[in-house]
Amino acid sequence: MYIIIVGGGRVGYYLAKALLEEGHEVLIVEKSAAVCDVINDDLGSVCIRGDGCEASLLTQIGTARADIFVAVTGDDEDNLISCQVAKRKFKVPRTIARVRNPRNEGLFRVLGIDVAISATNLILEQIAEEVPTHPLVHLHAIRDKGLEIVDLKINTGSPVIGKTVKDVKMPEKTLLLLLIRKAQQPIIPDGNTTLAADDQVIALVDPNLEADLRKAFRGG
């Protein structure tokens, strides 16, 4: 695949390196000449100096035939605009933007970027997962269907302990997919499965109703 990366900082550099190792055709666009030189010395001639928002440069590097366009500069505005130019003017099928301000993640999607990634949010989620009392952890988002898969931990004191699944009041469309109990084979729970303390449940939920699910399992 032909992949264009805007921004030759640490993220851009290591992304390019990984993609090159997988055999993809990669081109980095970077504003700073000094950074360009370092990348070209290290990775071979894969970096061009210029502004990744400028249509003339993007024409020159064949953006129209790119399969993926990734913008990972340190500037949210630049990442948004270069992805929009790639999408609108060059019809790149998949645009991915890095977001510095976590609040811009949703905004970028509304403004037509296919994938917006906030490192801050990713790190927050990772840390939350490591906090043992944290009742709900995001595992995967199925964005186009408006669903997500979450990991629920049933802590001591949770109102669901001792209840069967059908007696737990859960938000609409919630599905409990898997029940993991210490030292036992994981099972697929049904309405008659009784929940216990320290159980771990993998569930499918509408992200908008996630707070209700959290409440049902945590109580209060």
């Binding site: 505005e77 003017k89 609040r103």
Partner: protein, 134 residues
């Protein structure tokens, strides 16, 4: 009218002052508190320090009740992003955006973003002056 101007440079400050004098409620946003010195001393509108390309900041500027939003910072991309937030998220009726780069201005104009390129306007004016046209 309730108008928000992002960017208190020469153009932003002058426009703010003119709009206020003609009876509009004006709010100016700029990252640099020093920029507000460009406003006339009798300016009665609001001056807010912050990033106008941030939805939270725009809410603080009461964008929900704004009739117009004008993006006039030095950065084309910042202007475009803020203008899109105003238009697509907050549904402000009139959004105008300054884009220096003519190519970028053309593309966003095609996408329906009302914008002006001072580069094009000024070059055309100068050409007309030099060639003696009116």
């Amino acid at each position: 009218m309730n108008v928000i101007i992002m960017g208190c440079g020469r153009v932003g400050a002058r426009l703010a002052s003119q709009l206020e004098k003609s009876g509009n409620q004006v709010t100016v946003i700029d990252l640099d508190p020093n920029a507000f010195r460009r406003l006339p001393t009798d300016f009665k509108g609001n001056a807010l320090v912050g990033n106008g390309a941030d939805a939270t900041m725009l809410r603080r500027a009461n964008i929900q009740t704004a009739d117009a939003f004008i993006a006039l910072t030095q950065g084309d991309n910042r202007n475009i992003m803020a203008a899109q937030i105003a238009k697509d998220i907050f549904k402000v009726k009139r959004v105008v955006c300054r884009i220096y780069d003519p190519l970028r201005q053309e593309m966003y104009a095609e996408m329906g973003l009302e914008s002006l390129s001072p580069t094009i306007v000024f070059a055309d004016m100068l050409q007309n002056m030099v060639e003696g046209k009116k």
